[in-house]
């Protein structure tokens, strides 16, 4: 079986977000970039499937500039066999989906995260599904392959549903589909020589254009209320904040 895992390269979850260049660019100073946390679940499940099914290969794909290569190497260190980097700024979901669709042909299982944590769109899997005419399911908490069928648990508002589809298939993953894997020394060493192919992007007409970034208005100071004065809190919520 051939598995493709699409990974995004995003600021670490603890990052404070700031912008430069007149609010048109992310300020990368002091920001550490990681494999998207949901993409890490996708990768972990792919490696589990590889370990359980001899002959399975795992390829990682990222759409990004050369800056993302350390993130891609980390995925190789975790256990992917080879990698493709589509050499382009991931400008919007449709652009990324078009690039993924170009390279996803021939794979049996295409795993992604439920969403990237920069733009949080949660749509690349659905778009690739439509572009390739393949089923796409997200967010998937459990995924098991039974012959040509795939059984999945998908989270929905206030609960979950059991979904079945056939391979080839696209799934957007989230916990607890698998435990995150941490690269070991041998993985880190071997990652250096694993193949990382750089591909040029296919041309896609831009359908959206960034105007500017904006930060939320700063929060006012907290008002502390003594623990024995809960009635005061109730009155403030009613009359001051007007939320009751």
């Amino acid at each position: 079986m051939k598995i493709l895992v699409c990974i995004s390269h995003v600021p670490d979850t603890t990052s404070k977000i700031n912008f430069t260049d007149n609010n048109t660019k992310l300020d990368a100073a002091g920001v550490q970039f990681i494999i998207g946390p949901y993409d890490d679940y996708a990768l972990a499940r792919a490696i589990e499937l590889k370990e359980a099914n001899p002959g399975t290969t795992v390829t990682v794909l990222n759409v990004g500039t050369a800056d993302t290569e350390p993130t891609i190497r980390k995925a190789l260190a975790i256990g992917a066999d080879d990698a493709i980097r589509v050499n382009a700024e991931p400008v919007d979901s449709f652009f990324v989906a078009s690039q993924v669709a170009e390279h996803a042909k021939g794979f049996d299982l295409i795993l992604m995260g439920r969403e990237s944590i920069d733009y949080n769109s949660g749509v690349v899997h659905a778009m690739v599904g439509d572009l390739l005419g393949l089923p796409s399911v997200s967010p998937v908490m459990k995924l098991d392959i039974e012959g040509a069928k795939v059984k999945m648990t998908r989270e929905i508002e206030g609960g979950k549903e059991q979904v079945e589809a056939s391979l080839p298939l696209i799934a957007g993953c989230q916990e607890p589909i698998a435990e995150w894997k941490i690269p070991n020394m041998r993985g880190i060493m071997s990652a250096k020589t694993k193949p990382l192919k750089v591909a040029e992007p296919v041309t896609v007409a831009a359908s959206v254009a960034l105007s500017k970034f904006e930060l939320p208005a700063p929060k006012g100071a907290v008002k502390m209320i003594p623990a024995d004065a809960v009635a005061e809190l109730v009155s403030k919520l009613k009359n001051e904040a007007k939320v009751l």
Partner: protein, 317 residues
């Protein structure tokens, strides 16, 4: 600017989030058509007029009773073309967001999700989106003639004006390819306020010490008609179900009031709550980082403060 709005129903009525989508579309200024898929009752459909729909397309095909994403996308894309609408508006959900993405592909439309307010149409069509899990926003111009917008909670205010809508049955031929996924079964918490839609959320962290102590949070939630939420470790250890976990890797809530009890306020948790209008933090540690993100804070023991707060609310509400 004519708009088509996808309506999700719950017990025959449009969900609050879909009412918001209708009001958002009405504010765009042109005619609004709503589309409902699967069995629905006539009164519920006519009611959509109150929120701005002049016409309701009803695709009553029983095969659409379950929310099969591909089939929904086929029907809505066809309606988007048939109605010659400029904008398709949907409220964010586990069904609507992937459907929207597929319709955008099928229609050659510009796509934006997590839209937080009405567009700026002064020069082009610009939308404001929430990004970095609520830590920032961006303005994007949608360049294509057709646009698909997935809106976040509170992107528009729900107000009633208008009259009953005309209902038009709507049929689209569906093929096996539209049912490329099969929903075998589903389970949903019933009788509870759903977390993503809740106006008030009572949330507990590891400071609650164990699942057996959730009763005091449930009592508080009950007097407030609130949903209950939790921090990630709480769902990881299995004290609460996964779908209740709030934050960067969980549900992003946007209630009027978020009450956090025994939660330290890690940045990943805050990422899921920063769209709340008012935040109350109850924590025994005065140095807990959550206080910096709060509007009101009480330093105290949850087991002492929460029952007292419940009693005070019972007396006041």
């Amino acid at each position: 600017m004519s708009a088509l709005v996808f309506i999700e129903t719950s017990e025959g009525k449009a969900k609050k989030s879909s009412q918001e989508a209708l009001c958002y579309a009405r504010a765009l200024g042109g005619p609004v058509t709503a589309i409902v898929l699967g069995p629905a009752d006539a009164a519920g459909l006519q009611d959509l007029g109150k929120y701005g729909a002049s016409k309701v397309l009803h695709a009553a095909n029983p095969k659409l009773e379950q929310g099969v994403i591909q089939a929904y996308a086929t029907v809505i894309a066809k309606a988007f073309a048939d109605e010659n609408a400029d904008v398709l508006v949907l409220a964010n959900s586990s069904l609507a967001t992937p459907v929207a993405a597929k319709v955008a592909i099928k229609s050659g439309a510009s796509f934006a999700s997590n839209v937080v307010e009405l567009p700026d149409t002064g020069n082009g069509f610009k939308v404001k989106r929430s990004i970095y899990t609520g830590k920032a926003f961006c303005w994007q111009e949608l360049k294509n003639a057709k646009k698909v917008l997935v809106i976040k909670k509170n992107a528009a205010e729900v107000t009633e004006s208008g009259s009953a809508a005309t209902i038009t049955p709507y049929e689209v031929a569906l093929t096996d390819a539209d049912f490329n996924t099969t929903i075998l079964s589903s389970e949903k918490a019933t009788g509870h306020v759903l977390l993503p839609e809740a106006e008030i959320v009572v949330s507990g962290g590891r400071g609650m010490k164990g699942p057996e102590h959730w009763g005091i949070l449930e009592d508080l939630a009950k007097v407030l008609h609130a949903a209950t939420g939790c921090s990630k470790p709480v769902s990881d250890i299995g004290w609460r179900p996964h779908h209740e976990h709030v934050g960067q890797t969980g549900v992003k809530v946007a209630p009027q009031l978020y009450i956090a009890v025994g939660i330290s306020g890690a940045i990943q948790h805050l990422a899921g709550v920063n769209s709340s209008k008012c935040i109350v933090v109850i924590n025994k540690d005065p140095e807990a980082p959550f206080f910096k993100a709060a509007d009101y804070g009480i330093v105290g023991d949850a087991f002492d403060v929460v029952p007292k707060l419940t009693e005070a609310l019972k007396a006041a509400l």
